[in-house]
Amino acid sequence: MNNTAVKSSQPKIDSALQEKLALFVSLTPAFIITLIGTFIFLFWTIFMSFTDSTLFPGTDLIGLENYFKIWRFPRWQVATGNLFIFAPLYIVVCGGLGVAMAIMIDQNVKNESIFRAIYLYPMAVSFVVAGTVWRWILNPSTGVENLMHGLGFESFVFDWIARKDRAIYTVIIAQSWQHAGFVMALVLAGLRTVNRDIINAAMVDGASMATIYRRIILPSIAPIFVAVFFILSQWALKAFDIILALTEGGPGYATDVPSIFVRDMMFNRGQIGMATVAAVYMLLLLFVLMAIYYGYQLIFRKRVAQ
């Protein structure tokens, strides 16, 4: 059999070296991007928070001064307060709605894919779109209130969006509308991984569906609820465009949140130092969240291992 034609010359550069070089080259973009775009930028922002930069970034360090000073801004107080009102409610409403939808769809619904598609499409549109649309619906003169008046309920009032003390709740409505489908998708995926045999065994034992859900199915997908909690908290923290489109942070700054505060301080009011301090506070909050999440995972894993 013809042997020589199958063999060929050895490559000129050592193949092991070639491979290492190619590996190095291909990871360089990610390395540079991550180094600069994530870490260097992050440290720069943190560094800036220790300066007294206003209109332009400067390097005069003033330490933690701004970290304390910021709390004397009424606007910042409102912004953080809003976050702690809005976030828990949003998590409960959006999460609850999503879980409810998931459980409903899990009941062998005919045409379930149509329902799922309808519940999930808001995730495909921009936050600006969602905010704008809900602004119109919640606007007293064009939206629900107007409609009710037109139908004859003259005394119907729904002007939360225009009221300083209620406006923040409108954000919950809009953002829940946009995100509930996502929660549903996650929880539904989890529900479908539950072993049907366990459910059948419980049914044979005489348990009602409600009990089965409450005591068997939902506990077994607990990690998904934790993940949902974590993701929704992140989204609450990061909420920006939707609030801008919905209320512009108003009326006044009644629906201001830290994310809007940062942007405004930095580009409209020439308070770079203060803005970066606000951003760092956001980061700290995020770290707390992550600590909770990973702490839970550790405990959960330990418990499972036992």
Binding site: A22, T38, S126, A185
Partner: protein
């Protein structure tokens, strides 16, 4: 003589109970469906109505007559700031932005994911964790340095945005590809290396042909994300370089005079259409991206 027994035609109380709950279930599902669809329906319908009619009947009313006038106006004549050429140029801005940003970030994510999963080296797990770390961080943390960088490069235009989205998109795309490539058996790569394939040969001839599912998911995710993105788009471009989300914000934002809700609604639809269309056509992949992207380690 036997007495004919009547058949039990009435359902038992248990069956009635079940049927009742079934009805409640579907009623609930349909109501929820309305909750989700109505806002979009309103916008769509509003865009088809005349201006005076909207002002009279409000937003939540059916159109008395249908016209596409608002669409035309929105696309060609509406004012974004002082520029009254309609949404068209901003639509194309977004197109010019989305395509390179998606293509490049997807390609980079693919090769990075490949390198990290199939050529394990000391610290590759750490590298991966560092790369996806950025997913958690709020964009506000990067506003300042990004602004400075773009200022330095004099890139406060669409190309600056392309750069930014690649910068910040890599974390997600790497995550997607890495999670996908982990499932490809390592032995196939070993066999290819023994066969004489180098790093890039393995990538082109073996990995990429296996990648279409994840490429679709990633492209859809990036497209949706980048098209819908607002903060960077509005902050780092000005004037005629705005992407469509920022333009929409300007068109529907506070302004004096009488609002033409029809036109504004049409603007909303124009802005939302591409991503919605993708969702309708490829919803399955959209969902896959959502669920796999969020259940990270």
């Amino acid at each position: 003589m036997t007495i004919a027994t009547t058949e039990q035609t009435l359902p038992s109380s248990q069956e009635l109970g079940a049927m009742f709950w079934r009805f409640v279930l579907y009623a609930g599902l349909v109501l929820l469906g309305f909750f989700f669809i109505v806002p979009l329906a309103i916008v769509l319908l509003t865009s088809l109505r005349g201006q005076e009619e909207i002002l009279k009947n409000g937003v939540l009313a059916l159109p008395s007559e249908v016209s596409l006038r608002a669409w035309w106006v929105a696309f060609n004549e509406s004012c974004v700031g002082t520029d009254c050429r309609g949404m068209a140029p901003y639509f194309w801005n977004s197109v010019k932005l989305v395509i390179p940003a998606t293509v490049i970030s997807t390609a980079l994510g693919a090769i990075t994911g490949y390198a990290l999963t199939k050529y394990k080296f000391r610290g590759s797990e750490f590298f991966f964790a560092a790369t996806i770390f950025g997913i958690f961080l709020p964009a506000q943390l990067f506003l300042l340095p990004t602004a400075q960088l773009l200022g330095l490069l004099s890139a406060t235009n669409i190309w600056g945005l392309v750069l930014i989205h690649n910068l910040y998109g890599l974390a997600f795309t790497t995550l997607f590809f890495r999670n996908f490539y982990v499932q490809i058996p390592d032995e196939i790569i070993s066999a290819a290396r023994i066969d004489g394939a180098g790093f890039f040969a393995v990538f082109w001839r073996i990995i990429v042909p296996l990648s279409p599912p994840i490429i679709v998911v990633t492209v859809i995710w990036q497209f949706t994300h980048i098209w819908n993105e607002f903060l960077y788009g509005a902050t780092f471009t000005t004037g005629t370089d705005l992407p469509i989300t920022a333009a929409l914000y300007a068109v529907t934002g506070p302004k004096g005079g009488i609002r033409d809700y029809g036109v504004e609604a049409a603007a909303v639809v124009i802005a939302a259409l591409p991503t919605l269309a993708v969702y309708i056509v490829a919803g399955k992949y959209f969902v896959r991206g959502l669920t796999s992207g969020s259940l990270k380690g």
